[in-house]
C-alpha cells in the first residue's frame, strides 16, 4: 500500500523545510534521486515540485548564497508552510463544524472538511457541539462552477463556450479568471476577457460544454483592489427603470404588491372601473415588462413610457400575427 512516490515527496518536503539555506538542485539529486539519470531526474523533480505545490506547499527558489546569485536553490520557509496558531472557543469551534454542512457541492464540501481537519490538527477541538442552528445550504449546480473556482484559486487561464441570451450560437471565450461571485441566487465568473481585452462578467449557467485550461497556473495577476461585487454591479446591465407605476385589479398582481413602495386603492383604471389599485415600484427588476405581460389584463403598466411602448409593441405583434 505505501508508495515510493509518497516517500519521495515527503522526504523532499522535509529536506527543504528543515534547511535554513536554499538547497542546490545537484544536492537534492544526490540525496533523494541517486539512481536517476539526469533527464529522468529533471522530469521527476519538476513533477514532484508541482505535486507539493498542488498541496499548497510553498516552495521558493532563491540564490544559494546571498552574495553570489549565480546558483539557485530551493527551500520551504517554515513560516509560510505552517498554519499559524488559531485559538477558538468551544462555541466558535462549533460554528466551524457547522460550516462543513453548508456546501451542497461535493468538491467544496470536501475542501471545507479538509480545512476543518487541518484546524483540528492544529489543536482546535472541533466537535459538533449542540449549536441550535439548522445550517443554510449553499448550492452550486452549474457544471462550470468547480473548474472555474479551481482556475481562480490557481490563477489559470481558461476557455469555454458561452451563450448569451441574445445570441443563437454559443461563442468560444478566453478568460483569465479573477473570481467567482454568488449574487441573486446565481454564480458569476469575473475576469479578464483576453479576446476583448477588457474585464467581463459571465453567468455560469450560460457556460455550455466543458471549461478547459488554456495556460499554466499562476500565469497572471489579478489587478490589486479588484472588488468583485463592485465589478458585477458596474458591468451588470443598468436597471430597466428607476421607478415604475402599475395599475392592478383588486386581489391581483401580488408579486408587485410585495415589493411596492406605495399602493393606492380605488383608482380609476383604463376600463373606467374605479376599483383598480395604483402600485409604485422603486428600481423595478429588469424583467418588469415580462412580468407585467405575465399578468395579462389584470395589470397595466403606466410608467415609464418607454417600457409601456415595449408592451404595446409586443402585444400588437401577437394580435397582428393572428390578423395577418
Amino acid at each position: 500500500m505505501p508508495a515510493a512516490k509518497s516517500e519521495r515527496l515527503l522526504n523532499l518536503l522535509i529536506m527543504l523545510l528543515v534547511q535554513r539555506r536554499p538547497v542546490p538542485k545537484e544536492r537534492i539529486r544526490e540525496l533523494l534521486y541517486p539512481d536517476s539519470a539526469p533527464d529522468a531526474f529533471e522530469k521527476m523533480f519538476e513533477r514532484d515540485k508541482e505535486e507539493l505545490r498542488g498541496l499548497g506547499v510553498p516552495i521558493q527558489v532563491a540564490p544559494v548564497d546571498s552574495y553570489f546569485d549565480d546558483e539557485l536553490g530551493y527551500r520551504i520557509p517554515a513560516d509560510d508552510f505552517a498554519l499559524p496558531e488559531v485559538t477558538l472557543t468551544a462555541e466558535e469551534a462549533s460554528v466551524v463544524a457547522l460550516a462543513t454542512r453548508v456546501w451542497e457541492h461535493a468538491t467544496m464540501a470536501q475542501a471545507t472538511t479538509d480545512a476543518v481537519r487541518k484546524l483540528s490538527a492544529a489543536g482546535v477541538a472541533v466537535d459538533l457541539a449542540p449549536l441550535d442552528i439548522a445550517p443554510p445550504r449553499m448550492v452550486a449546480d452549474e457544471p462550470a462552477f468547480a473548474p472555474c473556482w479551481q482556475a481562480v484559486c490557481e490563477r489559470t487561464a481558461i476557455r469555454f463556450d458561452y451563450r448569451r441570451p441574445d445570441e443563437e450560437q454559443p461563442r468560444r471565450r478566453h478568460v483569465q479568471p479573477w473570481g467567482v461571485v454568488r449574487s441573486s441566487g446565481r454564480w458569476y465568473l469575473v475576469g479578464h476577457d483576453v479576446d476583448r481585452g477588457a474585464e467581463r462578467v459571465f453567468r455560469l449557467d450560460r457556460v455550455t460544454g466543458t471549461v478547459r485550461r488554456a495556460g499554466p497556473p499562476h500565469a497572471y495577476d489579478v489587478p490589486p483592489d479588484t472588488d468583485l461585487r463592485e465589478t458585477i454591479r458596474r458591468l451588470a446591465p443598468p436597471p430597466g427603470a428607476q421607478r415604475a407605476v402599475l395599475l392592478a385589479r383588486p386581489d391581483s398582481g401580488h408579486s408587485f404588491r410585495r415589493r411596492a413602495v406605495a399602493v393606492t386603492h380605488g383608482v380609476t383604471g383604463p376600463d373606467g372601473r374605479r376599483d383598480w389599485d395604483r402600485v409604485e415600484l422603486e428600481r423595478p427588476s429588469r424583467g418588469l415588462v415580462d412580468e407585467v405581460l405575465y399578468h395579462g389584463s389584470d395589470v397595466v403598466l403606466v410608467e415609464p413610457e418607454r417600457l409601456r411602448e415595449q408592451i404595446v409593441r409586443r402585444l400588437s405583434a401577437v394580435v397582428g400575427a393572428v390578423v395577418g
Partner: protein, 347 residues
C-alpha cells in the same frame, strides 16, 4: 521493530502526503491517539492510516542514519498478519518539524469562508457576531492571498430572508409545531392562507421548498419558499405524522398532477428557448429555421396563457386549437387596456 522494506507505488501519493501532513500535527497535539480515532479524523480506514504510517516510517532527514528517520511504533498497530489494530496507540517520534499542519490552500480557505458567510447571512445577531469572530481569527490563519479574497458571496436581502425562513420552518418541523402560511400561487395570481404540518425544508438547484401536510388541501404539498409571503409558527402541535421530506432534486415531483392535463405543442422563437430549461418538457424538436417546437403537459390553461403572454411574441401555440384562441383573446383584451383607456387617473 518492523524492517524497512521496499514499497510498491500506489495511486494517490499526493492524498497520502496530505493525510500525513494533517495526522502528524494531530498526534503532536494529543497525548494518546488510537489508530481508529486517527482514521475517523482523516475520514478514512484504519488500514489506510496504517499504510500512511508505514510511509512515514520510511521518511526523515536526509542522511540515512537511524536517528535521522522518523520513528513509528508499527508493532503496536499491527496484528501478527499485518492487519490494522484499531485500538493500537500511535507513537511517532523524531518528526517535530512536521508538528504544525500545512496552511489552508486557497480552495480550502475560500470554501470554509464562503460557508461561514452563508451561515452568517440568515442567522440571529448573536450567531452573526460569533461567525464574525471566527472569520476574523481564520483570516489570520489563512494566507490573506488574493486567491482567497477572490471568492465572494453577495447575498441579497431577499436571499438572507429566505435562509432565515428556511431555518425557522425547519425548526418548526423538528419541534412538531404547526405553521400558518400565506402563500402566493403565481400561475393563478392567488394569495391564500393555510395551516400546515411541516415535514422539512428541501432544496433543488435554485429553489428551496417546504414539504408539509396542508390542512387546506388535505394532502402533502410542496411550497416554494420565495412564494411564502408570511409564516407564523404556531403553538399548536402537528396533527398528522411527520415523515421524511421528499427528495425533490431529481425533479420527480414535476410529474405530479398529470391526470387531466392536456398536451400542448408550442413553437418557440430563438429568444424564448430559455423556457426549455425552466419548465418540464415532454418533447423538444429543434426546427431547421432556428425555432424549437416543444410539447408540454398543461394542467392549468390559465398558466399557459400567462406563459405565452410573458414570452410574447416569441411563442405561439401549434395545437390544440382552443389554446390558440384563448391566447389571442387575452392579448387583444390586454392591448385594449393600453390603447383605449386613459393612462392614469387618480381617484
Amino acid at each position: 521493530m518492523t524492517s524497512r522494506s521496499a514499497t510498491r507505488p500506489a495511486p494517490g501519493a499526493r492524498d497520502q502526503v496530505a493525510r500525513l501532513l494533517t495526522l502528524v500535527p494531530f498526534l503532536h497535539q494529543r497525548s494518546q491517539v488510537r489508530l481508529g480515532e486517527a482514521a475517523d479524523l482523516l475520514g478514512t480506514t484504519p488500514d489506510q492510516v496504517l499504510g500512511d504510517l508505514r510511509v512515514l516510517f520510511m521518511c526523515g532527514l536526509p542522511g540515512g542514519l537511524p536517528d535521522d528517520l522518523i520513528d513509528v511504533d508499527l508493532d503496536a498497530l499491527e496484528t501478527p498478519d499485518g492487519g490494522p489494530l484499531a485500538d493500537g496507540l500511535i507513537r511517532v517520534e523524531n518528526a517535530d518539524y512536521l508538528s504544525r499542519p500545512l496552511r489552508l490552500s486557497p480552495t480550502e480557505a475560500s470554501a470554509v469562508i464562503v460557508a461561514l458567510h452563508t451561515l452568517r447571512s440568515g442567522s440571529t445577531p448573536e450567531v452573526a457576531a460569533l461567525v464574525d469572530r471566527v472569520l476574523a481569527k481564520l483570516e489570520v490563519a489563512v494566507s490573506a492571498s488574493a486567491e482567497v479574497r477572490s471568492v465572494s458571496v453577495a447575498t441579497t436581502p431577499d436571499e438572507a430572508a429566505e435562509v432565515a425562513l428556511a431555518a425557522q420552518l425547519q425548526r418548526a418541523a423538528e419541534e412538531g409545531r404547526q405553521v400558518r402560511l400565506t402563500y402566493h400561487v403565481p400561475s393563478r395570481d392567488e394569495l391564500s392562507e393555510r395551516v400546515v404540518d411541516p415535514h422539512g425544508v428541501v432544496t433543488t438547484g435554485r429553489f428551496s421548498y417546504l414539504d408539509a401536510w396542508c390542512h387546506l388541501a388535505d394532502d402533502d404539498r410542496l411550497f416554494r419558499l420565495d412564494r411564502i409571503t408570511e409564516a407564523d409558527v404556531l403553538d399548536t402541535p402537528r396533527r398528522t405524522p411527520r415523515r421524511a421530506p421528499r427528495d425533490v432534486s431529481d425533479g420527480a415531483f414535476d410529474q405530479r398532477g398529470e391526470e387531466g392535463a392536456v398536451l400542448a405543442t408550442l413553437r418557440l422563437e430563438p429568444e424564448s428557448t430559455w423556457a426549455i430549461d425552466y419548465y418540464p418538457m415532454k418533447a423538444v424538436r429543434p426546427q431547421p429555421d432556428g425555432t424549437v417546437e416543444v410539447d408540454m403537459l398543461i394542467s392549468d390553461p390559465r398558466w399557459l396563457d400567462r406563459l405565452l403572454l410573458r414570452l410574447a411574441p416569441g411563442a405561439a401555440v401549434v395545437a390544440p386549437q382552443e389554446f390558440i384562441q384563448t391566447f389571442t383573446t387575452s392579448a387583444q383584451r390586454t392591448l385594449a387596456l393600453y390603447r383605449g383607456g386613459q393612462r392614469t387617473m387618480e381617484s
